[in-house]
Subunit: 277 residues, 4 copies
């Protein structure tokens, strides 16, 4: 069987497997990806329902059984991914490789450590594949665009968050001294926690100032926080205005050799390792 449409290399079952698992251009590949996404969604729901006591009591054995089936399927998929790729190590240590592993491990670990199966919720990260699968050019473009703007503003945002953190330590300490333990500010770390809750305008209300001076200082912190929130917004916005929506690649192929993605639409060779796609 010789397949020359897209690959000039002699086609083998490994190549076919690679095309099905890693790409969404062929019919089989797309079908596989959609099934996979449904399985991921189902498994995330399973983990969530398992944690609800009333549900778990009624359907414990069913939930446990389904969970085992999904875990085994995911394990098989993980092995298939390693086999079908030319450079398995690159996949294993890539973001998706680690996430795929973390999606199967917790259930096995739960045999030894009680409670560790909750970590299976990390599978939710696998849902990020949805953008690739749906071939939503706009979405992939939008996401790349977002990333570029965020990367460009990383330095400024870091400086900003560092300032905010130092500010919260100092404000928390001041409030600890003003309000004292009898008003819920039982320690400096707890007061710093309160300062963060207030400055970010979350405002749980589990700790709140009671003395007039404390409320006065809190008011200043809030108005400060109201002004401060403008800063990250200003950073991201000005960065985003700069970034241009340049050519967006909708190619969902990934290299068999180095598993690099985001190839140009009509590229024949991998931009990363030079091998044929």
């Amino acid at each position: 069987m010789l397949k020359t449409t897209k690959q000039s290399k002699p086609s083998s079952w490994k190549n076919n497997l690679h095309e099905i698992i890693y790409e969404a251009d062929t019919r089989a590949g797309k079908f596989f990806d959609v099934i996979l996404l449904i399985a991921i969604l189902a498994s995330v729901l399973l983990v969530m329902l398992e944690s609800v006591d009333s549900f778990d009591k009624k359907y414990h054995s069913f939930l446990n059984f389904s969970e085992w089936i999904i875990t085994i399927l995911f394990s098989l998929e993980y092995i298939a991914r390693i086999i079908s790729i030319k450079k398995p190590l690159k996949y294993i240590f890539s973001f998706y490789g680690i996430v795929d592993l973390l999606s199967t491990l917790p259930k096995y670990l739960s045999l030894f450590f009680i409670g560790s199966h909750h970590l299976a919720a990390l599978r939710a990260l696998r849902l990020l594949r949805i953008f690739r699968v749906l071939k939503l050019a706009r979405y992939v473009g939008a996401s790349n665009n977002l990333m570029t703007a965020l990367k460009a503003s990383k330095a400024k945002i870091s400086v900003f968050l560092f300032f905010v953190f130092i500010l919260c330590i100092i404000l928390g300490t001041v409030m600890y001294m003003v309000e004292g333990e009898e008003n819920g500010f039982t320690s400096i770390p707890r007061s710093v926690y309160w300062a963060i809750v207030t400055l970010t305008t979350v405002g749980y209300g589990d700790i709140a100032p009671h003395t007039p001076l404390g409320q006065f200082i809190a008011s200043i912190i809030m108005i400060l926080g109201y002004g401060i929130i403008a800063i990250p917004t200003g950073i991201v916005t000005s960065e985003m205005s700069k970034s241009k929506l340049s050519a967006i690649d909708t190619n969902t192929q990934s290299c068999k050799y180095c598993s690099a993605e985001n190839h140009k639409d009509n590229s024949l060779y991998c931009y990363n390792c030079g091998n044929k796609l």
Copy 2:
């Protein structure tokens, strides 16, 4: 009776009705629309007051009676709208057509299902007609302008909200494992709910972390949320800066044949079906 001012077609009571109901250019049309808006406002208030126990006990029969009168008036208006238009199906399945139907149905349904009459609050959506009625060019323009910017940033906002949702699932699971059931984090779905409440800086305080580690993670989530809120703002702003306030149409006519709206100010034929306006 021949009317050649705006329409060359032989004028009939259907045409007159169409002009009164669907347009706000003539005196009668404007009068009808203003009366309609007042009736909508009154009916929304009625539904709200009906739900207040102390009010309902005192004036139950009055509220019920008024509600029936308004429902019947709205039903008649709905029938008139269907009769006077050339292509009734197009209206029936349009946004306003569905809203108009939903404004009358709940009261009839309340004869069979108790409580369903509260759905009549959906009438509030009919209030959106206000911009058309008041012929506020600026407002119509502003609203179109807003829509253009929002549509352009839809892809990016979707990617963003999807990320936020996955983030909340993972953070919620982590907090469920850290805080546990004794601190109110009774299940993963509930913890995810808490994560959303925190990340969006709503912060009810009905669930709040109690352990030092939980408060530490919560602090990180809050500061994260503080930074994350900058992203949708950046997206919308950069999109809005791009969009230009082009020609704004203040024409409130709508086509008799296809009920298309937003015609150019001095257009004689429908841009959609080519018939005379």
Copy 3:
């Protein structure tokens, strides 16, 4: 006595009074304004302290006495302002004229209506004069600039807030039906209030959803609110980026005839009524 420095009109005590009260260019005018601001600040503090029970009990007669003195002084100032201006009616019905009147009335009214003296806190609005007095060109310019941007985006912001309000009515009704009275959602108006508290990310926590479905809907509202908050910001920002910081006038004179303000720096005649300044 002839004064030709700034005014060619025969100078009189009225002219002098006008210059002292309405302008901050001369020494006497500046002195008057600073004294006035201190008096306003003191009176606002008085009203606030009067409402604190523990304070009022101790110093009731002192607070009451001071309040009367300040009220009488403000009344005299109000009369002086009316006398010294050429067109008193224009001043009386201007924003500052109404505020000045409202600063004195409550105390007199308190002789007849108990509690009305709290309205004296409206005096705080008089503090807005501070920008004029301090001749802070930058601040006046900044404030004009802000106003221009806000006026330009008024139409869009109105449309936006109207949408938000309709949205809250519908979401409130849905939550009223989902959660019901046993969970604190006792009526539709109260549920609408909750929807506003949630959508604006205030989140008091006095009303919070308890059923899983309610929490699910609430989560969607919050994420929606997180995205929606980007809209007004986007509007104001794009408007503000457009507006240019053109010439800023630091002239604090105001016309004797029509009390128009914001004259160009070296203007000799009122831009509004054509009379000499």
Copy 4:
């Protein structure tokens, strides 16, 4: 010993000390700065842990002892900084000079005033040195850039916050009259505090309106606050879009004579006092 690499002045132990303490270009200087940062971090953690009752009870003597050691080390460092600089007064009254002093004083004061040692948390401000030490050009640039934009928008932000404050006084007074003492609005200052909590969307929930009219007014305040938050963001963003990322200096040297920092990368003389670096 003559050192001509960077300074033509006869090298002395003072010069060496200056280079180690104030600069991060040499190996010794960098080493010193890293050790210092670790010490600062440790000391901030110490102060925080000391305030936690359960910790303090167990390890009181250890915490106290460590605190004394760090205080003495910081004191020695402070003295070394004064000795090694040519114009000590300039350092003493600089921002970092005051922070450095405040980092040591509280522990000494705690001998006389109980509780004052908590002020040692002000040491957190010393952590701001981290940007200089790590020679993170991007971060220093980002921070300068941020500062420029913030300074440019200072006037507008001040006007805005002043408006917000006056608004809160008036809204607080209205709510005090509407809700009254029985609903938690016990005084005008407390109601103003509530208005600030609400307008800034913090929303603790410790005070919340109970009457329908109060909830209606609160709803308006919240929607207002939702719109108002757009203003500072708009200001900072438009300012930030204007500011250009001009040349960023990564030089960490500081002048021996006037302790000016931020020298151009290849500058040989201090831009401030003209002396050799």
